[in-house]
Symmetry: C2
Subunit: 556 residues, 2 copies
Amino acid sequence: MSERKLQVIPLGGLGEFGMNSTALRYGDDIIVIDAGMMFPDAELLGVDIVIPDFTYLEENREHVRALILTHGHEDHVGATPFLLAQLNLPVYATAFTRALVERRLEEHEMLSQTRLNTVKPGERIEIGPFQIEFIHVTHSIVSAVALAVTTPLGVIIHTGDFKIDPTPTDNELFDLHTLAAYGKRGVLLLLSDSTNVDRPGYTQSERAVRPRLEEIFTRAGRRLVIACFSSSVHRLQQIIELSAQHGRKVALLGRSMMNVTEIAHSLGLLHIPDGILLRPQDIMPTLANKVTVLISGTQGEPMSALSRVAVDNHKNFSIQAGDTVVLSSRIIPGNEKPIFRMVNHLARRGADVVYGSMNPPVHVSGHGSAEELKLMLNLVRPRFFAPIHGEYRQLAKHAALAQHLRFQGLEDTFILETGETLVLDAKGAHKGGRVTVGRVCIDSGTIDEVVEDMVIRDRRHLSEDGFVLPIIAINKHTGRCEGLPEIVSRGFISSDDGADLLQSAKQVVARTLEQSTAEERTDWGVMQEKIRADLKRFLAKETQRRPLIMPVILEV
Amino acid sequence: MSERKLQVIPLGGLGEFGMNSTALRYGDDIIVIDAGMMFPDAELLGVDIVIPDFTYLEENREHVRALILTHGHEDHVGATPFLLAQLNLPVYATAFTRALVERRLEEHEMLSQTRLNTVKPGERIEIGPFQIEFIHVTHSIVSAVALAVTTPLGVIIHTGDFKIDPTPTDNELFDLHTLAAYGKRGVLLLLSDSTNVDRPGYTQSERAVRPRLEEIFTRAGRRLVIACFSSSVHRLQQIIELSAQHGRKVALLGRSMMNVTEIAHSLGLLHIPDGILLRPQDIMPTLANKVTVLISGTQGEPMSALSRVAVDNHKNFSIQAGDTVVLSSRIIPGNEKPIFRMVNHLARRGADVVYGSMNPPVHVSGHGSAEELKLMLNLVRPRFFAPIHGEYRQLAKHAALAQHLRFQGLEDTFILETGETLVLDAKGAHKGGRVTVGRVCIDSGTIDEVVEDMVIRDRRHLSEDGFVLPIIAINKHTGRCEGLPEIVSRGFISSDDGADLLQSAKQVVARTLEQSTAEERTDWGVMQEKIRADLKRFLAKETQRRPLIMPVILEV
């Protein structure tokens, strides 16, 4: 009986932003919900993406049954190829999510070996002791689902990411009824999205951007260039509809924009009127007031289509004075500088650039604000609650919000961070032990390119003050130093100013060698440390800088 | 007569954020308005601050008469020690601004050699052909002024930074009357702050934070920790007053908080009731609901008092569960991640953390929004207008705003970026030639520590993929390579994974040496290039990384 407990094992995304992944375990059966990535902090130098450490799953590989995906955003699916390379699990996802993941698996040349299954909202599947129902939710991406996971101990609701949009543009309403039914029958545990818990009130409906876009379409006298997240199919639909109404053809620029529209169109999720699409090479020859350009690159990513257009380095399209550029997206914290740099370039070319928070907005969030989170809690009425998807500050606010509601039946609230498990059994719920978790840094997006902490620490050190390498040649027969030490250096001091300094540094190293005892001189480990220490002191005194110093002993 | 023209020479802060500095030249006389610094972009690795390149002033050193400071923020005065080290100009500033600059000059041990002059709002000074009147404006720092510079060709109004606060907490109203009088008599050129041109409406009064702070004081059951910019003397005053009303003593933590309160108090700008101050070491022994802690470090600066408190590493003060922490400040774009990291730590210790934009706010901006900028334009009614203090996108919006007003008398609007001069003469105004400008990167805040572009480029390269140094020992008698080359590397690959790779890399270098002709082998410049190219190709193929490769030839 001791095995008959249910464990919630957060592998990523709790107490941190991004790389969402949570395992559920009942006895010897484990399912994984989402396998997301995060974009690295600037401190992780040279790292392209970060994924969760899946050691726990590796160690339990014979027990892991499946990967279930809630929706297609990168912070929920981006680590899928990396997880599947370690454990070739069957994957369950809605058609659109599956199609996005297929593209990624193709890039990694893994598609043929993987087992993908399409599910529909309302459908139930059984995996070992888990019965999983997919529940349609509204979010900034189409085909997002919450999960109701029925276990022998009770039901767990995992919301995925959601807002409660009463007027979604595709009229596919949030399935409140199914959640209500579960809530009425009794839910053991709710795991709910905390992203926007800081925002009071309700998040505006996706339809709220329509009036602002209409105003922009009406006012624009020349080309209209609109950037949005390519996965925002609802937004793309609105822009295509408005273009049709205003007699504008639509050109798509950027690989992700083309990919996603193709997928969404082929699945019937995006309606593209016949003849409205314009090839990129036809943008410039077409009358300026008859063109909308839908473009990717809202975050100022250096290689994105919009960034290239901003510096007039796109083969098909040049901004001209009087064009209107709209950033129909949020600014992801940390991206302000590249985004504003791009906006400045666009403004220098004479574009009227519309961005940022105005009222009415050109962008609305996909995550529910405080009132929607309360509604979710009221509908589901769980016995236990653990906020997910957020930094600690957000999880703490969300937990406080639930406590504040004081609805009947809520026994306890848990703030879990990645790696802290929650154990549910016949008696109740309590925090369990910790499992191995962490962040795996990936260099250039290929599966082998894991970067070690030590390497990143070195890069950080190098990035601050460069390096100085004293090189000492030792005669292997005599054990004596041959000539004056050499010093090479980069990123430390400019060669003009540095010549004298490095000359003096050579003398410092030579002196350290001279002043060491014969015994010390036979132990090159000791000598390296002495040289490093003396040189470090000298350079810090002369320059206030602390380059990476790495004495090299060369036997010749 | 050809010399009798007036030039506006932006040396910093136009088309970029920070390091504001503008020179005015009439004939052979130059005055400099402000000498600000900027904090570097993350890409400027290892750089602490950035200041304008003052080459233009150096080249005209016999013509430069004075430095005039509008207010004490770092982006207006931070480069003063560096400019004065190059050119020992007399400085004119209000008492508070002067006192802040004195502290900086003291740190650089320059105070005794410099010539500082105190001016008062309403006062006029004459410097060569320029008559300068100091006009009181409201801003987030006390003692801020705009300048009316009367020249033989007409009046230039330089607004400095401003908002038009109808209810400043110190009741020192914005001197609209003087500006109006100048406007009525006729102004040649207006140079006006563009920082908040993106915001519609009016910026809220400093008094708007009072109700929110009152609510927080009323609710707080334990220690109340409030962080704000130490230069926000108005804010400090409000917090001290509220503490007195609520029976709380006030402790100051952080060097800048202590410095500024001391200066403001000694100048009579900050009223501190007798006996209200608490020494830092007395915080913990005092009853928790009787203490307010005023602390510096709103931007998550790693060494600031609040950052240290967040990780429980402050000698005098520990956060306890139930304490309230208020960030009464804006989040400077780019600082989101360190700030949120700090907030997460505070939340983990059980603090209730209040931050971000709520309604009513815990912070208001010091810069005027669109309607205030329009009011400024309407009051001054200049013949020519050039927006200052902002990135290009902001200058462009501000110029469009002025054009849109179409008030009588406005002849032309100029978008100038740093280095682009504006020439005014009897006929009118036009863009003049460019002068040498640029950004000087300073490493550790000392005057000698200028960092060259090349060094920063190397650091960036090093930060991405580290370095690989093949070291080849050459017998200076035979000119032949002695033994197998050595390879040292850091920040490139972990030592476990890398051992085999670097072993293979040695073979690559050895092969390059072998396969070169005898002639090539005598030219070590050529050999270095060949080794670099071959090794680069090999490492890119094996790892997809591009470390900095620097072959070292050692004669032994």
